[in-house]
Symmetry: C2
């Protein structure tokens, strides 16, 4: 009895309005060209071109006249023509393996905003991890209409895509923080989560936990900056590091890993590679009858928008992927159109946000919970500049 039964199609198509209706609604002819504007303004079409390209060498009175004509006619330049005629780059194609996971989606938002502000278009192409050929295909396909490329290279497919972008195409990438000696081969931006991961681990240790386990995000270099920070904090406290686990980015994987960890009663604190993993791990703990944070503390990474609404609210490390997206576009612009590139961008650092999912270990003596003191949570910002060495 609870089953739906519509009489209406769930997907419908309606015929396009009749041509007559079309005319009424468009207040200008489909194609007003610069020649039309030129005629209207009584100048040559080259002058119109100069005006729309903000050329400084146009008398201001002429400019006014042209601008008026443009407004009257509702003219807007044709991007295809501009691109074809060798005009400046006006669009970016973003290559990513995913567009809905938090980090990716937020980065995309940042890029979109930044492109919009300077009148760029933004195309998006998902690159799946089928194989090198497919990646190359995807890249080439994506490049066609685009002037420039941004690759979200947080994961394997992303990195593969980045490597397939021909070097004659202006490109910038968002990458995992490289280690000290690594030098990205492309203009790149990243958030270095080393210090924040160290903070988070110290915080857990400070709460009285014997050790801290780590559920890592996937890595193809065998390590991540998050992992290094975790390791460093453990080393600092002379605690032998437990073997980190890794295998996926998702809550599903976090759940599976959490199930394993839940069986070991000595596990009382887990630093997760991202909030999705943390959510899955919390769920697994709950199902195993291990209360969070009473029995086991969970700390995430990223601070997804919903983290503060979880129960318990998730203690996590905040990262500003949106700002990172903007920064990436800015560094791309510094090559493509230096004059218009954003300068002195502020990229907030990753920082620990303490909420409810971590606490003292079970049976910890009262007072040991602040053994090493609580971390400072004041928003620390650092001025970072997209620079060209």
């Amino acid at each position: 009895m609870y089953v739906t039964g519509h009489n209406r199609p769930t997907v419908t198509g309606h015929t396009m309005p009749a041509p007559a209706a079309l005319k009424e609604n468009s207040d200008r002819s489909p194609s007003v060209s610069i020649r039309d504007v030129a005629r209207e303004a009584g100048v040559s079409y080259q002058t119109v071109s100069r005006v729309i390209n903000q050329s400084p060498s146009v008398k201001s009175s002429t400019r006014e006249t042209v601008l008026d004509a443009i407004a009257r006619l509702g003219f807007r330049p044709n991007r295809a023509a501009r691109a074809l005629a060798g005009g400046p780059v006006q669009s970016v194609t973003v290559l990513a393996s995913n567009t809905s996971l938090y980090g990716f989606a937020a980065a995309l938002e940042g890029i979109e905003e930044a492109t919009r502000e300077v009148g760029f278009g933004m195309a998006v192409r998902v690159v799946e991890s089928i194989g090198p050929d497919d990646v190359r295909d995807a890249v080439e396909h994506a490049l066609e209409p685009a002037g420039a490329v941004i690759v979200i290279a947080f994961d394997r497919p992303g990195v593969a895509a980045l490597e397939c972008v021909p070097f004659d195409v202006p490109a910038a990438a968002m990458i995992p923080a490289p280690t000290e000696k690594e030098v990205p081969r492309r203009p790149s931006v990243w958030i270095d989560e080393y210090a924040a991961a160290m903070d988070a681990t110290r915080y857990l240790l400070g709460l009285g936990h014997e050790t801290v386990h780590h559920l890592s995000i996937p890595t193809w270099t065998g390590t991540t900056r998050r992992m290094s920070g975790w390791l460093a904090a453990l080393k600092e406290a002379r605690v032998p590091p437990p073997k980190p686990m890794h295998g996926g980015w998702s809550a599903e994987w976090g759940y599976e890993a959490g199930e394993k960890l839940a069986r070991d009663l000595k596990v009382t604190a887990v630093l997760c590679g991202n909030d999705d993993i943390a959510l899955g791990a919390m769920r697994a703990m709950h199902e195993a009858g291990r209360a969070v944070p009473a029995d086991v503390s969970i700390v995430g990474f990223d601070d997804v928008p919903f983290a503060r609404f979880y129960t318990p609210a998730l203690t996590t490390v905040r990262q500003d992927f949106k700002a990172l997206g903007r920064a990436c576009f800015a560094t791309l612009m510094s090559f493509v159109d230096p004059a218009r590139a954003a300068r002195g961008l502020e990229l907030p650092e990753a920082r620990l946000v303490v909420r409810e999912s971590a606490g003292p270990p079970p049976g910890a003596p009262r007072g040991s919970s602040q053994r090493r003191g609580a971390p400072s949570l004041a928003g620390k910002r650092k001025r970072a500049t997209a620079q060209r060495p």
Copy 2:
């Protein structure tokens, strides 16, 4: 002591590789044109054009020769030129007020997949709700490189954007399910959640709740199909409907609304307009000391990927926005390129997914919990076709 202190810039830019390096990595000259291919293949460039456009009127041996030359030279057609020369539409611009909220992001994913499959490009432009002029601006801006437009018109800014799309531009929209008499003015797709909302409400009533409250998503028509379904189930049970609340889409708003509801001890069941609102409401209940589902039952809408990992796992109504995105692109294609449009698309219906966040009201007599029987949860699918009446 927990404060970060990097020595490395968080944002870096690296110089572009030297021209020499560029050459090495690009296995073809930057611009191989159809004329180059024609020369290589020993045919005229028109023939090349025919081959890349899958014209049937090319001798297959000629086609082979040309395809060979294309592969050898690494030729790929220039989209700008194709568009300018009046070639067929090859790209879509998606207009949306948001790209990261679940429904929007999932729809975008579906559109992207569908475009990729047919070799279309996809641009994305966020339309902010600043004012009609800005929307029109955004639309016109977005249209430039694009051949066609898809508007995600779930909310006000989306609807405003849709209305600004000139009728001479092929466009399709994803809209809230219209009421019986409404006739969308554009080719549109939607999910009708009436029946599922009714199911959910009946389910709650069946659990023994006196009534069901509703935290609605924003609406500009005063109602939604979700609300109608909720109302219908209440009416069916002869329960006078409590006044629905609305004000936002977010967990923040759900939290605020939940705080108010938590004060009223007679509130034992809440149907939320989406899962974010539900998450916020659950959190508010938790903070108010009202256990979910022991004291109050919460049901969401959408089934976001994390709903099953929440604690309690969220009982909600699943909607397939990704499929909706694909369907929308398919209906657009049926106008733009009927031959290549996907047919007989399957769009899963919205359906209730029972998990843990709803249960009998506090103090309910044992056995009343199934008063009206449990809903069938079997996946019901319905064949829906993108049709042109």
